[in-house]
Amino acid sequence: MAELTYLQAISDGLRTEMRRDKRVFLIGEDVGVYGGAFKVSLGFQEEFGPWRVIDAPLAETAIIGACTGASMMGLRPVAEMQFADFISCAWDQLVTVAAKQRWRAGTPVPIVVRLPSGGGFSGGPFHSQNPESSFAHIPGLKCVCPATPEDAKGLLISAIEDPNPVLFFEHKHLYRRIKGEVPEERYTVPIGKARTHRIGKDISVITWGAMVFTAEEAAQQLENDGVSVEVLDLRSVMPWDKAAVLDSVRKTSKALVLHEDTRTGGFGAEIAATIAEEAFEDLDAPVKRIAAPDTPVPFSPPLEKAFIPQVDDVVAGLRDLAGY
């Protein structure tokens, strides 16, 4: 197995599928000649040619519309939004057409939309958001949010295989910071299955994306207090692994739901509500949420740090639950 960065693992998964399946193509702004804003598709146009690595005009609606049409004609498009934030321009094509086509007409729409998301680098309000909950709310769309290189590759391949539109949220903060062993061969990671990132018995942290590592660091600090924290990496938020969450909470009886997206209406609210509904009699403390406050993402580094949940915030939340 090779050690790859999160970004290299995404490239590897995409390349694997493009080599294996001629129906797979990539379209997006600057994905071709320039190799993508983050260089995920560096060298792809040389290998696969301009008809399979397509530089699109600055028009997200056109990109998603083209993908939807191509998928209905039998292709397997992968679209790159240069930043996840820009997906809002394509809302109508994605939410009204792609998500509903199968229900309306029975035609599958196997498209993947790659969404570089997340903050932590002073990208400001247009380049830092985590909009997964908006799309998890739309029936017909799937949303995956890998945290590790291995899951990034395996989930991308699963997303391309999937007959439904899949939104692939790749966290920019992890691109070059996280490295890990990634199998060289083709493999899939199932969509909708959580992964226990760390086993514990006293408190469950349910999270995904870059917050998995924030939770892990906080859990290590709690270990010094003699509190054993389990970290569940959801990996997919739609469908999400309700059984794994409930199993973990039934074991620990205390739950902290953590995400980088803003708090109100964030996907953590759905998880917290489900725990309250289905594991009420197993709870030994209120379900706690830690999320960003309900504001746009600030540019200013100190403000952004105050905005995105930090290790200390999670430690404080865990201590509060531990002492409850």
């Binding site: 070059r176 910071r177 924030t214 105050a306 290790v311």
Partner: protein, 447 residues
């Protein structure tokens, strides 16, 4: 603005996703003057190559990161102004790049969100402390009054751990508070309102009395022995089971051909078990660690096989594993005869102590009732046990000489090897099973 105070030169953030940069060239030497915004050094990141302007005017007093080195964004590269070498802070950190470890933010902001207010656990006026759902459920299941449990949570709340410990250990010996001897003056109180006498939690030290419908029998010496032996084996060995499917076509044919002769000439039934045993003994020659033992700090292998055969005693009264000694010297007839002899003597209780000692490898055959798979327990101190299961006809994909696939009906047996992973690894066990299968599938009838 030439400066007396030191100004740090740091690795700049050159793009949203860039986390590190390499110094390609310093444009000034230590001790040289530099103006604010004058190019000071060149860096290269995986997105761009660029010049870094000086953040202040003054003397470049110190270069902390040399050309060619790669450091994280924000790392101090040098110092303008101030006293040279004064603090000499934080030597360039070694690149912290353990696989999948989160970046540690150097100075986490103070918790921005207001701490959740402590829950109003002080509902505890009177005798009623706040009872969480899980504590209420456990209390109901064990018929415990949660108010009787000492609480260690916030405001004296009873936590899940508190009540679980209470259930496990029983109430603390320190006087159950004022066991309410019901005042004789209220004999007529309806039972539902009377202070419920606390039922003794499950901490009775003596064995519980049999309940109606239960039958009790003493544990036989054999059952006790088996229990101890099985438990000890699981506590000792790292059990792993691998399974392989074996096409028995050739064995079925060989057995049909031999059966009559064996029966009439020797009075012995050439069972499938005998074939497997013969092939296993032969295969063990190539896999000494499957026929081995961990003895203290040593590994003991042998040039012989004492083959244990698990035999069930009549009426499910137990299991015994008599041993065929030096099985490596026996042909199929010898092994078949040995198995028949041991089985008969085991059932008739005529085994001698010697017959059940010194085994080096065991075969168990639980397939007689149709089970097709199992995970037996290793017979200590051996390192492995072979399981044979029901022989069943299955649709089986076969490939002819020209490479065409077809489905045929084949007699297939699942064969398992349960091995002690302390001594035998999966690949080794897999090769053992592969060779065993090869022997069985290519049985030539002469053995």
């Amino acid at each position: 603005m030439a400066t007396e105070t030191a100004v740090d030169v740091v690795m700049p953030q050159m793009g949203v996703s860039v986390s590190e940069g390499t110094i390609t060239r310093w444009l000034k030497r230590e001790g040289e003057q530099v103006e604010a915004d004058e190019p000071l050094l060149e860096i290269s990141t995986d997105k761009v190559d660029t010049e870094v302007p000086s953040p202040a005017s003054g003397t470049l007093v110190q270069i902390l990161v040399q050309e060619g080195e790669t450091v994280d964004v924000g790392t101090k590269l040098g110092q303008i102004g101030g006293a040279a070498g004064a603090p000499a802070p934080a030597a360039p950190e070694p690149e912290p790049e353990p696989a999948s470890v989160a970046p540690s933010e150097p100075e986490p902001a103070p918790a921005p969100a207001a701490q959740a207010p402590a829950p109003a656990a002080d509902v505890s006026g009177g005798n009623g402390k706040f009872v969480s759902p899980v504590v209420a459920r456990i209390a109901a299941e064990h018929n415990i009054d949660p108010n009787a449990v000492p609480g260690t949570g916030r405001g004296g709340r009873v936590t899940k751990q508190d009540i679980l410990a209470f259930v496990e250990q029983g109430p603390p010996p320190v006087a159950p508070p004022a066991a309410p001897a019901p005042p004789a003056t209220v004999p007529s109180a309806p039972s539902s309102e009377a202070p419920a006498p606390r039922p003794a939690p499950a901490n009775a030290p003596s064995a519980p009395q049999p309940q109606p419908g239960e039958q009790v029998e003493p544990v036989s010496a054999m059952r006790r022995g088996i229990a101890e032996h099985m438990r000890r084996s699981l506590d000792t060995a790292a059990h792993v089971t691998s399974a392989i499917e074996v096409d028995f076509s050739k064995i079925v044919a060989a057995r049909a051909a031999l059966k009559k002769e064996f029966q009439s000439a020797y009075g012995v039934n050439p069972t499938y078990l005998a074939f497997v045993a013969r092939a296993a003994v032969e295969t063990l020659k190539d896999y000494p660690y499957v026929n081995a033992e961990m003895r203290g700090d040593s590994i003991v292998t042998r040039n012989y096989v004492n083959l244990g055969i698990a035999v069930e005693l009549a009426d499910g009264k137990g299991l015994i594993v008599p041993v065929i000694r030096n099985a490596e010297g026996l042909n199929l007839l010898g092994i078949a005869r040995g198995i028949a002899d041991l089985a008969a003597r085991a059932r008739d209780k005529k085994l001698l102590p010697d017959d059940v000692q010194g085994g080096t490898f065991t075969i168990t055959n639980p397939g007689g009732y149709g089970t097709f798979h199992g995970t037996p327990v290793i017979n200590q101190p051996q390192s492995a046990i072979l399981g044979t299961y029901a022989l069943v006809k299955r649709p089986w994909v076969i490939t002819d000489e020209s490479g065409n696939d077809a489905i045929a009906i084949k007699p297939i047996m699942n064969v398992t090897l349960t091995y002690d992973h302390r001594l035998v690894d999966g690949a080794y066990a897999g090769r053992f099973l592969r060779d065993l299968r090869e022997r069985l599938e290519s049985w030539d009838g002469t053995e």
